[in-house]
């Protein structure tokens, strides 16, 4: 119990840190936030249940008014903005990524990649696109068009998530709670 609580709290903090540290540029010249990488890692490292709880805790902190979203955004306003769908999709993304890693017994790197792509891109974009279409008054295909510029960055992040999860399992085999 204590261990689960500590992991959930620390990974909520990790998502915040990955969104706030601007120095981490994933590909040179293109500034993309590592925040959604944190969400993917919550799922692949902590597993479905704990990962989703960590992301929910992070969102709770944001809703309470802490400026933890990338770019120092936060407060209730972000839940009325165009990116609300992505926020609602965050915990589901971690849940799906965790489920894939837990249930699919292929090599860890491949399972993490599949989980990160399925959770952090397919599921997350589905939520995000619906959110944008509602708030911005666009049809679903039009909203999908607005999300495409971020696709390349998120594919890179899914790849990095797989690399990092695999590397973590090598240096600290016991630490991977998604595959105990």
């Amino acid at each position: 119990m204590e261990r689960n609580l500590a992991y959930v709290a620390l990974f909520a903090a990790l998502i915040a840190v990955l969104g706030l540290v601007p120095q981490i540029t994933l590909i040179s010249g293109v500034p993309i936030t590592a925040q959604s990488l944190g969400v993917m890692l919550c799922g692949t490292v902590l597993g479905a249940r704990r990962g989703a709880l960590a992301v929910l805790l992070f969102l709770l902190l944001v809703a309470l008014g802490l400026p933890l979203l990338s770019g120092g955004r936060g407060g209730l306003g972000v839940f009325a903005g165009p990116t609300v769908g992505f926020l609602i999709g965050f915990p589901v993304a971690a849940l799906v990524a965790g489920l894939v890693v837990e249930r699919w017994s292929v090599s860890l790197a491949f399972a993490s990649l599949a989980g990160a792509v399925l959770g952090g891109i397919v599921v997350l974009y589905a939520f995000g696109i619906v959110g944008m279409s509602v708030v911005l008054g666009k049809t679903l295909p039009e909203a999908a068009l607005l999300a495409t510029p971020f696709l390349v960055g998120d594919l890179i992040k899914a790849g990095l998530c797989a690399l990092l999860t695999d590397a973590l399992a090598r240096v600290r085999p016991g630490a991977l709670l998604s595959r105990p």
Binding site: E2, A6, V8, A9
Partner: protein, 198 residues
């Protein structure tokens, strides 16, 4: 750690947090149903007046909090400029700005501990599902405390990188940050186990 609550003490700060949250929910749902530009403009004007009544510094701070929306407003302007439905574009943009501004107003005028008190009351029914309000409060407190700790450790890590390499730190830095988070979690778990029963 800094919160987004405004340091300018206003009359709105003294209203009960639960009331403000309920009013915000009702207003946002109503606003989302509006499509008539005149009604939306009325709501936007009312919101602006509400901000202005709280003083100049507060209003400027509120305007700054709307800044992250500009890419979306730009897209809407281009989109409806090309399609020619300018009134519709103006209605959507104004509705978006008003909804976000209203929500920001609650965040700016409600202190963190008041919001947490409301949250604890709302979370009481969750005890039936096995989530004790005490555990939720502890998780919130831990995450609030550990975020600056992890941020400080990460910046030390980045300084160590800069001391050794002329290149910018890349994604490789994330692995040690991940390890720090896992180690800290283990230490926190041990400390919790030694001190309390959950």
């Amino acid at each position: 750690m800094l919160t987004l609550t405004s340091p300018c003490e206003t009359a709105l700060h003294r209203l009960p947090a639960a009331g403000k949250l309920a009013a915000l929910a009702v207003l946002t749902l109503t606003l989302m149903r509006l499509t008539d530009l005149r009604l939306i403009a009325l709501a936007a004007t009312a919101t602006t007046l509400l901000y202005c009544a709280q003083g100049r510094i507060f209003t400027l701070h509120g305007a700054r909090m709307l800044r992250p929306l500009w890419p979306f407003l730009l897209v809407l302007a281009l989109w409806h400029g090309v399609s020619g439905e300018l009134a519709r574009g103006a209605a959507i943009s104004l509705r978006l700005l008003t909804a976000v501004a209203l929500a920001n107003l609650v965040t700016m005028t409600t202190r963190l501990d008041d919001l947490i008190a409301v949250l604890e009351r709302l979370a009481q029914p969750l005890a039936w599902l096995g989530l004790k309000p005490r555990v939720l409060a502890l998780a919130l407190a831990l995450a609030i405390r550990m975020t600056p700790v992890l941020l400080a450790k990460t910046s030390i890590l980045l300084q160590a990188w800069h001391a050794r390499s002329p290149r910018r730190p890349g994604w490789r830095v994330v692995l040690p940050v991940l390890l720090i988070a896992l180690d800290d979690a283990d230490h926190v778990a041990e400390a919790l186990r030694a001190r309390a029963t959950l």
